[in-house]
């Protein structure tokens, strides 16, 4: 018994610590776990909703929520034009290691009021942080200009969006937000992250996956183009020639009759 007691105490202590660390838990879900891209796909709206379970002294005090949805990351090249001998040409280019094809952030209050810079750096929450740009400075002098341009261009076409006050708090433990997926999204595994914050520190988080897939005809055409490129090319040509012939024949018929 004597030997067992310290072990039990240690275990209890460990459990106690874990329990203290897990005093807050975010439980959340998405209104759908997969988005099907069909022929008439024109964007989609995802509802993210959840609740915070909390025990301990802080329970019941106000907290903040940040929801991010990120598309698959891919390498991107950003080019800049400059005037050379009177004409505008691409002079500089920067390769960005990985930038999400889609990124949406929704918060319940203004970002700088609820998120500290260290937390942002640690968890890559804001858009500039979500873009991985290692070794940028070695490529050009003003590398930031290029990431800013990337963000500006993608915000303009709706691929990157920030919705401060997008999260609604329904009573204390419940929250919800709508994330709009634009019609020009590409397929892949999208990641939804939900952060619960207090005093600009993240105290709990939750991650979920959203599967964006082409289905039906879209899927079939895409697969054929990738896997049977020769057949696909010939099929495209056959359709083109048949259509050309068909139109010609139809017009002759119309004119003839």
């Amino acid at each position: 018994m004597r030997r067992v007691l310290p072990a039990v105490l240690a275990l209890a202590a460990a459990l106690g610590i874990t329990a203290a660390a897990k005093a807050q838990t975010v439980v959340a879900d998405l209104s759908q776990s997969r988005v099907a891209i069909t022929t008439n796909f024109a964007g989609s709206q995802i509802l993210v909703f959840g609740a915070v379970q909390e025990t301990g002294p802080d329970a019941g005090t106000p907290f903040d929520i940040i929801v991010t949805v990120s598309g698959p990351r891919e390498p991107v090249t950003v080019r800049k034009k400059d005037r050379v001998a009177g004409i505008w040409v691409n002079t500089e280019a920067v390769d960005i290691t990985a930038a999400p094809a889609f990124y949406a952030i929704s918060t319940n209050r203004r970002m700088e009021q609820i998120l500290s810079m260290t937390e942002d750096l640690r968890r890559s929450i804001t858009i500039p942080r979500a873009i991985r740009s290692a070794g940028l400075a070695s490529q050009v002098d003003e590398a930031e200009e290029f990431t800013e341009a990337l963000i500006r261009l993608r915000e303009r076409n709706g691929s990157y969006r920030v919705e401060e006050h997008g999260v609604t708090m329904i009573g204390q433990p419940l929250f919800r937000t709508d994330i709009n997926l634009p019609s020009n999204i590409s397929e892949g595994r999208y990641t939804a992250r939900i952060f619960m914050l207090r005093d600009k520190e993240v105290i709990a988080s939750y991650t979920d996956v959203l599967d964006v897939r082409k289905v039906g005809l879209e899927r079939w055409i895409y697969n054929l183009a990738q896997e049977q490129a020769m057949i696909y090319g010939l099929l495209s040509l056959a359709i083109a020639m048949a259509a050309g012939w068909g139109a010609s024949a139809a017009f002759r018929y119309i004119r003839g009759s």
């Binding site: 390498p75 991107v76 080019r79 290029f146 590409s186 899927r219 090319g233 259509a243 050309g244």
Partner: protein, 307 residues
């Protein structure tokens, strides 16, 4: 009506694309140009990624050219023999052009060189044509009976290896058409288009072919060039979007039929004035892009689909 394109991965308005295809089809049927030089920039504007626009554009050109050429076949305004000779030269030229293209690519700035190429070439061809055809138009309007002159005998008629091109009413050496086909092939490969808008003036002014035959013959040889280029894009880059192509070609084939109709109602000189104006307009647009400060200096390209 919004349609999601499986390869381009964007959602587009179907009617807008039908209209676009139709517009290019009309021009194609009228002038015997594939319309690639017009369609591709218009597709960029509609939000299609450049690589997909170029590849799918080629596929649509096959459709509208087939539609147009069939109308010309019935009217017997296609010089098949000339088409094949031009094509033979074109294949050699295209192979050379691709070599040149890769060389330019190694030097960097290939886009800029292409644009400069376009501007200079279109500028020269367009202005020469405009001046010539306006003069011809004025001559035909003033009712002075044209003094009968034998068709000009330039250097084209003095070379050996003569061949009879019945549809064109020509009896000339095969070397000039081969050379014309070859140089257009080089240009087409470098600039990524069928080359109709260069081929048409070359056939009129260098080979001395009658304008009516030129349009059909040009369409005939564009079909092969565009089909080859479609297949190449589909196999190497997987960038041909079948749904996009379908939308464009429905508009295109109908447009080409109307274009052919309009073309036959116009006088040869009028047709040439209009083509010259079109060529100069495209030239002006490209020149303006180079000279005017763009509103957005930055551009993004996904490294995967590098164009």
């Amino acid at each position: 009506m919004q349609i999601y394109l499986p390869i381009a991965e964007v959602s587009v308005n179907a009617f807008q694309l039908l209209g676009l295809g139709g517009l290019v089809g009309v021009l194609s049927g009228m002038f015997g140009v594939g319309g690639g030089f017009l369609l591709t920039p218009l597709l960029f504007f509609a939000g299609i990624p450049p690589a997909v626009a170029v590849a799918t554009g080629a596929n649509q050109i096959v459709a509208s050219s087939v539609s147009g050429v069939l109308a010309h076949f019935r009217r017997k305004t296609v010089d098949i023999r000339m088409g094949f000779v031009l094509q033979a030269g074109g294949l050699v030229g295209a192979a050379m052009g691709i070599a040149v293209f890769n060389m330019l690519k190694a030097l960097g700035q290939v886009d800029l060189l292409i644009t400069l190429f376009y501007v200079v070439f279109l500028g020269i061809v367009g202005s020469l044509m405009l001046v010539e055809s306006l003069r011809a138009l004025r001559r035909s309007k003033s009712d002075v009976p044209k003094p009968y002159t034998r068709r000009q005998r330039n250097w084209v008629h003095t070379w050996p290896l003569k061949m009879r091109f019945r549809a064109s009413g020509l009896y000339i050496s095969v070397i000039p058409p081969l050379l014309v086909g070859m140089s257009v092939g080089v240009l087409a490969a470098i600039m990524g288009v069928g080359g109709g808008f260069i081929m048409v003036p070359a056939m009129i002014y260098i080979l001395g072919m009658p304008t009516k035959v030129v349009v059909g013959t040009s369409l005939f040889q564009i079909i092969l060039v565009a089909a080859f280029s479609t297949l190449l894009h589909a196999i190497t880059n997987h960038t041909v979007d079948m749904i996009l192509a379908l939308l464009l070609l429905i508009g295109g084939v109908v447009g080409a039929q109307f274009g052919t109709q309009i073309g036959t109602k116009l006088k040869a000189e009028q047709l040439r004035v209009l083509l010259a104006a079109l060529v100069l307009a495209v030239c002006g647009k490209l020149a303006a892009d180079l000279l005017i400060e763009p509103r957005e200096l930055f551009s993004i390209s996904e490294s995967g689909g590098h164009s």
